[in-house]
Symmetry: C2
Subunit: 358 residues, 2 copies
DNA sequence: CTGTTAGCGCCTTCAG
DNA sequence: CTGAAGGCGCTAACAG
């Protein structure tokens, strides 16, 4: 009962020396027993482990890391908003891989604010993360490149690096949207509306490109009357969708470039006169209950968990290499998308968000 | 350039002494400048801070915590599965409050496995968390009580403590289900089916109790033919729902006790003959796109983020008190629920999962 | 096989 | 106002 006043002893106030003293051995012996290191007799080890168990002693990983200088088996995960299912799924993937490597995940939310991202990155570094998986908040990733150059690997998720040589994992934004648009064209549509994010955002740009590409293939010109690119909540999107379909020569189909846009469009389509012309829908991102809607809907589906897994795997790859950062050729992975046609026939939902019920 | 070989220097390999030497002062001066402590001249402070900025030096919070013995401003969050929107929303709330207190969140997924929960708790303690917010995986929380007694506060979320005196934050499972069931009864239903979790689970038990209570109020007996309590994926639930409504004297309404059950029931109802008798639905947990479904659906809505916020607030409350653990009278908070009737009229969705679009 | 010495990066304490 | 000594809990590196 030496250091039991209030010291940082992890959870119990017990220190290695307490265990050692109680056994009449040196702290080193306890250390060796605990870490399963050689240079200790089997009998002694048993004795130590028994005492450790009896006392409920737990080593202090922070002190260990400080002294050994080794990795802390801790990675940081920066997302803009965990409340968005895409990011929470991504987090699941990151965590799965981290645990496999014996590491833990420290969370940071940026709220899509680059300044906040800066601060969180600094804080996580001060807390000794070995590496970072980042869903970037801004367009310029130079500061993340600097972090990497200083020795902490960084992997980007859902966005390609800009102004820095970083690994990244992307969704096939272009291909997915192109395929969805092709599908609409196959269905005979020529006037196809687009509802998506501004071009300044990666997905906004790439998905629009897929749309324009498919139109071009089919000899159709992009008609700006049918294009709305905005950053807003579902209400704003719904209004934009209504605007699109209520104009004189309305599109006969709508391509929505993300989940929020799809929901907004669904609302706009659903709450109008039943004698209005039917509008077919195709959207990026899967939609819960899409198959129950009884609407002609095609979605671009992919696995957000896989994005997290891939990003974390890239990170631990770098961490495993000797001098992970020097002469590092950035890698870029793309997660594939598949077209799911809910209009054709009901099909079982993916179990993505299933998990144990509550 | 002293300690620059590979040491644990947080991100840059720089240590306080490096900064101090470069300035011809002692490390203590740097420390004081950095922490804004008194006992240092304004001029000196400026000089130090300038050098710190120029060098990009960042203090090592791990070493700081080791020496000062103070809190690490780090809390652990244990959930069963972040992929479930309920838990990710909860995590959002926890993180919001943590950040407000200058703390960070370390994540742990238990996969609803009590053994795994044990391990994760130990690991987080070794990593110096100041406290824990736990969505418990098992029924017995004695081990969490032990953790608390050893000095690390624990707050439970979404489940009341069993076998330990812990703070907790609950949803009004009973009241919400009771209200939903009352609504169905108001609508004239007498044969009301129940689809929920087994009684062994807290929500399974409480929500069934709400159902039974409302029936009892109305002088209706619980009819086991109309009750299905299972733990399964959406497919299994859908099958159970179909079983319920396809029997000889089927219920005219269904009460589903959670989101997964609601989705399963919606599927079962949607994919059957159009001449089948109409079945009204009421369910616990909100459902995305519920208003677009054009089905008579009432949901018990609440704010999962608020659960996380409350839980974290309770935790930091304890952390703030002197000797947080001793003589601690456990507190129990209940987050209210509201009934939302999507059948009556379309209404804007809550912005719960909105966040920045992608 | 075991113990001793030294020190990770920082901060508390006490001298100057 | 500043610096020196000592140590948080643990573990390399070297003795024995």
């Amino acid at each position: 009962m030496s250091s039991s006043r209030s010291g940082p002893g992890p959870e119990t106030g017990l220190t290695m020396r307490d265990v050692a003293e109680r056994l009449g051995v040196s702290p080193m012996t306890v250390s060796r027993a605990l870490r399963g290191r050689p240079g200790i007799g089997a009998a002694t080890r048993e004795r130590v482990l028994a005492e450790v168990a009896a006392l409920g002693y737990r080593p202090n990983k922070l002190a260990r890391g400080l002294r050994s200088g080794g990795p802390h088996e801790l990675i940081g995960l920066l997302v803009t908003n965990l409340g968005n299912p895409f990011y929470s799924q991504l987090a699941v993937g990151v965590e799965q891989v981290a645990v496999r490597y014996g590491a833990r995940v420290m969370l940071g939310s940026t709220g899509a604010d680059p300044d906040s991202e800066h601060e969180v990155v600094d804080d996580l570094l001060e807390r000794g993360v070995d590496g970072l998986v980042v869903v970037p908040a801004g367009h310029d990733h130079a500061h993340l490149g600097a972090v990497q150059l200083r020795g902490t690997p960084v992997v980007l998720a859902a966005s390609p690096p800009m102004g820095a040589d970083l690994d990244c994992v992307l969704v096939d934004d272009f291909g997915g949207t192109r395929d969805a648009c092709r599908r609409l064209i196959e269905h005979g549509h020529r006037r196809i509306g687009f509802l998506g994010l501004p071009a300044a955002l990666w997905t906004g740009s790439e998905r629009f490109r897929g749309y324009a590409f498919a139109l071009d293939e089919a000899g159709i010109e992009v008609d700006e009357r049918y294009v709305r690119r905005l950053r807003g909540d579902v209400e704003a999107i719904e209004a934009a969708a209504r605007e699109l379909i209520d104009q004189p020569e309305p599109p006969t189909a709508l391509l929505t470039a993300n989940n929020r846009n799809t929901v907004g469009a669904l609302r706009a389509l659903r709450f109008r006169d039943t004698d209005a012309p039917r509008v077919e829908l195709a959207g990026f991102d899967d939609v819960e209950l899409a198959d129950v809607l009884h609407l002609p809907l095609t979605v671009v589906s992919y696995d957000p968990i896989e994005i997290g897994r891939s990003a974390a795997t890239l990170l631990f790859d770098q961490l495993a290499g000797t001098d992970p950062v020097a002469q590092h050729r950035p890698r870029r992975l793309t997660v594939p998308t598949t077209l799911v046609d809910y209009a054709v026939q009901p099909r079982p939902r993916t179990a993505a968000t299933a998990g144990p019920a509550r």
